[in-house]
Symmetry: C2
Subunit: 623 residues, 2 copies
């Protein structure tokens, strides 16, 4: 039984809860459908809204020197991560390497003004790169148009408040998807690691092709690649060492400085490996005229001039695809990529929110505008990336202003260093990706999931397997649908507790308590079980409706049938503690003389006595 | 607040409810997933199961003379309804008229043995006929194969316990669908009523075609048709008159006999009209050699010999379609028709159940076997029809045995009367259908739906409009999906009540009570709202979990974040009255020192005092 709370003192700011329907008294509507238009209008035009929709107006006036230093350090550090990452991710997307860099500066600048989460430097991400490859198939024009359309979809979703769609991707589905993507990205890099050609699109096809072609592998590419992987993993480990943490007095100043240096080594490991192997490549070419390992090749110099995204392109067979052709070729990617990008971005925001609430709508607007801007710089779709956010957070980022330094570094790199990028060995970039991506395989969620709710492993592992065997968007969609079926089954099969109780007057009765709302998928089941349980005993039945917080027309019809059934069997049926909102739904359909509600225990005896009087007069015609 | 029940006396037959988790103590599993295999095995082999799976074994040993008379009268009356109905329904299905009769006897015999509901004479139905026309497009071979496949699907659904799928068709969707079907069937008969040719498949196309061709209408077909409709409606009204009901002493014997005669006139109105117009048609042909109205034409004499359903057929263009071609041509109809047939059948069973529970699984098995049997008699898909059930119930049906007489009458008709059927005017059959089907338009549900829950009108009217404009199965599917979205939105957006309370020691705290389960679509919303509400006030927060009957891994992760957020803000957060099943899920993920549960009000002050001690020692390292 549910204990009653005793010290029920309502304060001035909150309406006094009524004993019967406290749950309806004070409901936080949060801009939901229940909100009036006046309130909505008021909410739309005030200072708070300005701060909400242009977050820069909230923090810039209070910007301090301390914050500026934090942002500078974080911005430069992220810049050192983002440059090798962008080059490598373009390879995942099957695009020329400069397109990754093209997407790493304008978006950062836009995010400063519109973005709500300080630790999100917008740019290419591993998942978006893989999806871009699957959708645009390496065609630059399609990838750039996809950026524009993704941005528009993100903006539209923000405007229409469709952010709640992301809620339907559960933790297990998200983990399964991320893990599968990580394995697929690692697989996609094997060809560069061994310098072989690999065919096939699914995980299995690619590995079959790898095993068939492995005998063609060159010697030096894998040697360099594996050395790089080993170095990267070692530097990563070094970066995590905390000196003097376990000593009594905490770390000494020297230990702190050393820890900081090691952390810097860990953070800049990608840049270090890329620069070192780039120098090696340059030395090979300048001394021998050729390199034993495959190099990246020429990259056009300079920041691209802004230009409208392409609305047509020439196919390999020399036919021209117009805008509609391109849209139909991109297909569901136009919806899936923004959704997945937002999913990742909001997960990051939550991870670095420090307990503040996340404004998903604002994130959609920020990423949408950033994407639209990026499409004018010939970038492919991107968003927030967990790897960069970890670095930014670790570097002491204070505001989104850090994006300025990151963006400037990318512009510098494009303007002055692109001619050196061509000497970077492909195997080194593959090593950078592989040694980062393997930590995205979330095998460590299996244990808590097993302990918490074993059933959740089904959508989790299901999504993982399906994403590896089907196209990614189909895999995650199936996972989401399976998970939704869980919820629907849940809605269709409420649980009951059945208790044999006695009234104050000593009359025995059966109390049946369903544990959740009465909506159409469950009403037949409820009616069947109540009938089944009540029919066996010649006792009055009380349906306890405390937990029924909601009902619909189908439920009301079912209650009508149920009450009529009990009336036909001359078995008394009463409803206890029905919420007023639910009561009005039932009363709209059920015959009032069959549908009897009571709220106080004392009333039950009176009702039972009345009912007995009625039963003794069977000649009484039904009014 | 929820009142506590006081007179909590548990009887011997039920386990004593515990104060904290009574809802988990005694749960009717009803063969659900929670049931052990031993219990399932025991349940499968006993007398009760025999009665359940072969219902004839339950009632035949106790069959009385009184029951036999009731069944005889009902069987013959239904026979008089079913013969004209079958001829007319085949016309809806676009098949030669004898195929309706072919489906009206073997199924009845099978249903006697397997059927669970006495008022369901299996045979052709209006909805199944329309769907058969849409799916099989008038090809007999496809229709007969469809019968076999429908039967197999029904049987499979029975075996796999997929009956719960029907629960996802809500009352509003079902009403919208039925009403749309009724209008479409009425429309399909207009061509016979006016003797014109009509093209188009959707409702709108057909009416445009009707208005274009109406000038070609013959004179006598519509005259006869409308006279028949008028007669049928008048006889229907006469059949409903209850003489002497309002007099003081109830109806006299003479009044009762007259009422019975009028009821018989109403019940047999279809047979009367068909026979009378058939005689008229015979008279026209035998006197003039031709008829001014179009007649039905020849029907092969005799009961068909059992033969296997066709697994191939020759198309109009002389190509042969093999089994797989036929299956792919039937498409989703193979799933949709059994589902719709079961939906109608179970709705009928419920309407005539007299408060007993319906065994949906047994109904699926009975209809499945009946359908498979019918497919060997060259019948097209069918099931229980509301029109026949009303007649059967009104004729005093006692057991499913009445099907024997109905089936025998159909066999007699096939054997001896088919040569007379050819003189029945087509317009008369159209009148029979139209004057019956218009009462299936459920305009009268709109008012109670409006009073009960206005939102339910959206799936209801939506389904109605979509079924008239799209193919039927797409229309109902969209309606179901829209309705499921309601449930998902419901799951994603719980309501909160927020109360400011005082402990016994006078400490103010905020109690937040979500009203339903914590599953993945809602957890972010809950976390966001709790944070938003708690962050504004420097008060301890209590999350009241009485109504949280279920949770999942995603919810547990969210609770972990929530507790960590509160810990970071140094704001105390406690969980009150968490169900043990939910508690174990949260504890598997959340840090135990952050996740504090209490069940008694008295504990809150102690917890608050402890918490204050902890807060005063900020140097305490996080263990």
């Amino acid at each position: 039984m549910i204990p009653r709370r005793k010290h029920n003192v309502s304060s001035g700011s909150l309406p006094a809860p009524d004993d019967k329907n406290s749950s309806n008294d004070y409901i936080i509507s949060d801009g939901g459908p229940g909100e009036g238009w006046r309130a909505a209008l008021r909410r739309r035009f005030n200072r708070k809204t300005l701060h909400k929709r242009l977050p820069v107006t909230a923090w810039l006036p209070k910007y301090t020197a301390e914050q500026a230093i934090g942002d500078l350090i974080a911005g430069v550090t992220v810049g050192l991560t983002v440059i090798p990452q962008s080059l490598a991710y373009s390879n995942i997307a099957g695009l020329p390497p400069q397109h990754g860099l093209y997407g790493s500066f304008l978006g950062c600048f836009i995010y400063i003004v519109l973005g709500g989460c300080r630790a999100v430097p917008a740019g290419p991400t591993a998942i978006a790169s893989l999806l871009t490859w699957q959708v645009a198939e390496g065609v630059v024009e399609k990838a750039v148009l996809l950026t524009l359309l993704s941005g528009l979809v993100e903006l539209l979703m923000g405007a229409l408040g469709l952010g709640f769609l992301i809620n339907f991707v559960s933790g297990p589905v998200s983990s399964g998807f991320t893990s599968a993507v990580a394995l697929m990205i690692a697989t996609s890099q094997v060809k560069d690691l061994f310098a072989i050609s690999v065919t096939g699109t699914t995980f299995l096809q690619q590995w079959i092709s790898i095993f068939k072609n492995i005998h063609n592998a060159s010697l030096w590419d894998p040697v360099l690649g594996f050395i790089c992987i080993a170095l990267l993993l070692i530097m990563r480990k070094i970066g995590m060492i905390q000196l003097g943490e376990k000593s009594e007095n905490g770390p000494s100043t020297r230990q702190k400085a050393l820890t900081k240096c090691m952390w810097l080594l860990g953070t800049c490991r990608n840049a270090i490996v890329v620069i070192a192997t780039g120098v090696l490549g340059f030395w090979f070419v300048s001394s021998n005229g050729e390199s034993p390992v495959r190099l990246m090749g020429g990259i056009p110099v300079g920041v691209p001039l802004p230009q409208a995204p392409p609305f047509s392109y020439v196919r390999a067979d020399n036919t021209t695809a117009d805008f509609l052709d391109m849209v139909s070729e991109l297909g569901s990617g136009i919806i899936v990529i923004p959704l997945i990008v937002l999913l990742e971005d909001i997960a990051i925001c939550k991870a670095f929110s420090d307990g503040r609430t996340i404004d998903a709508t604002q994130e959609m607007i920020a990423l949408g505008v950033a994407s639209i801007g990026n499409s004018f710089m010939q970038a492919y779709p991107g968003g927030g990336s967990l790897a960069r956010s970890v670095v930014a957070n670790g570097s002491g980022v204070k505001t989104t202003f850090n994006g300025l330094y990151t963006g400037l570094m990318v512009i510098l790199a494009l303007q002055f260093f692109t001619q050196y990028f061509e000497f970077i060995p492909k195997a080194a970039l593959a090593a950078v990706i592989i040694s980062a991506i393997i930590f995205m395989v979330e095998y460590n969620v299996i244990k808590p999931m097993w302990r918490a709710k074993k059933l959740d492993l089904i959508p989790g592992i299901g999504t993982f397997v399906l994403c590896l065997t089907l196209p990614l968007e189909l895999g995650i969609l199936t996972g989401v649908v399976v998970n939704i079926i869980f919820i629907l089954y849940h809605a269709a099969r409420p649980k009951f507790s059945v208790d044999m109780l006695k009234t104050a007057a000593g009359v025995e009765y059966l109390m049946i308590t369903p544990d959740r709302c009465l909506m159409f998928p469950s009403v037949d089941y409820v009616r069947r079980l109540v009938t089944k349980y009540a029919a066996g005993r010649a006792l009055p039945v009380v349906l306890e409706c405390t937990h029924i917080y909601s009902a619909d027309y189908t439920a009301a019809k079912s209650i009508e049938h149920l009450t009529a059934d009990f009336f036909a069997r001359q078995q008394p049926l009463f409803f206890y503690n029905v919420k007023p909102s639910v009561c009005s739904i039932f009363e709209a359909v059920a015959k009032p003389e069959h549908f009897v509600v009571f709220y106080e225990d004392e009333d039950l005896d009176r009702l039972l006595a009345e009912d007995e009087r009625l039963q003794r007069k069977p000649a009484l015609p039904d009014p």
